[in-house]
Amino acid sequence: MLIDKLKFLQGYVKIKLSGYAPERFLNLCSNHNILIWNLEYEEDNYVFCISVRGLKQLKPILKKTRTTFVILERTGLPFLMRRYRKRKLFFAGIVLCCGLLYGMSLFVWKIEINGNLHETDSNILKFLEENKVYHGLPKSKINCEEIEEELRAGFGDIIWASAKLEGTMLIIDVQENLATNQQAKEQEGTDSGPSDLVADKEAVIYSILTRQGTPYVEKGSKVQPGDLLVEGKNPVYNDSEEIASYQYCVSDADILGITEYQYEDRFSMWYDEKVFTGKESGAWGIRLFSTQVKLPHFFRKFTDYDTITDEYDIKIGETFYLPLAFTKETSKEYRTERKQYTKKEAEQAAKAKLDQFCEELAQKGVQIMENNVMIITDGKSCTASGAIKVIEPIGIRKGTVLTDIPQEGQMEHGSDGEDN
């Protein structure tokens, strides 16, 4: 088999020999070390294969034996090359293409990020760029473990990261920590020492349920911002019904108060609407590495238009991305028209906005008691304003000021004046 390939590489011919003494010819051939094969005898002629090199050495032998030959077939690489000698560039092109493909495969051309919910792709990509991981990076310079560590350290949200190389793609999977934010908030209150609950806005107390601490307000009392609602201080009485000392705790209570939200929304009756005329113009372009080449738009340019750009990455198979992409830019023309809301439309729009506001409040756990918002339309603008009465939880935490009752014979512990 191998010898066959060798014979093909060097090239051989099949010739028909005729003449006086063909046997002498064969003997002379072998004496000169010329290899012949597939020798057949056909009616006074010999048909056999001989290598090209041997063919050249045949001339003196032919003369000696007074024989002649006719070439029947030519097989082999030298003949092939001669046939395509005017096509050298074609083959050179094939070789260059293979070389380029191989060269391209040594770099990373696409970075894909999966699993990120809070962080945007561009954020992570920017962070990676700062750490010298970018499109066009040679594969040998990528250290997957280093990237994983950097991602975990750089973003507080990311608790697990994995980077792997597939073809010319760098696939990064991340897992974000969803639970921390909530837990952190809840833990805040319980870490510190005894605390009170004070009002954060003006309200009328609707209901108060105290679990820990001493309540200072009751249903119906009006409070202002900063007023003490529940104190984290429980007085301890001694036998003579006097306050002996205080027991401190973290106040815990559900306080609902009636507050008012001021709502105001105003918009003009005139508005601009984008009406698409339907005319579009497209332009194709190519992106190679980082440079972009764009063909100009064929239609005349519009005055107002929206542009949508599509990018198609070129890849071989699933993971072998090339640094080449086609871009298609579509421009859609639009006309701005001045339109006016009718009274009904304006009222509907205003009501829709109001409803959305109310729904947002309801989602926060707020109960709406009264809705006193009025929608007024005049020729030029539409206004929705008024107050919304709601019942919502009030009370924010504030650290308790510690005091001690001075007892006879005992020293006062360092304390600030405290309102009793």
């Binding site: 046997e23 064969l26 051939c29 072998s30 094969w37 020798l39 010999y46």
Partner: protein, 73 residues
């Protein structure tokens, strides 16, 4: 391994192949008869549709339908 120096070596594989080594040259070659000259004697190979697969000065291979190998002088 004792090689009788000068003698022709004929290796027959089945009825279709013969390998011949240590010969001087070909005397006659037709489709039915191949006559070889060796150092000591002549060898005639009779058969039908005889083809020489390769022929060098050291060895040659004959294929075809072999009917007989005759030694003559």
């Amino acid at each position: 391994m004792d090689i009788m120096y000068g003698a022709v070596i004929i290796t027959a594989m089945g009825r279709n192949q013969i390998l011949v080594e240590n010969y001087k040259g070909i005397i006659e070659y037709t489709q039915e008869k191949i006559r070889l000259q060796t150092k000591t004697c002549q060898v005639t190979i009779q058969g039908k549709r005889l083809i020489v697969e390769y022929y060098t000065n050291e060895e040659m291979k004959i294929t075809g339908y072999i009917q007989g190998i005759i030694y003559g002088s």
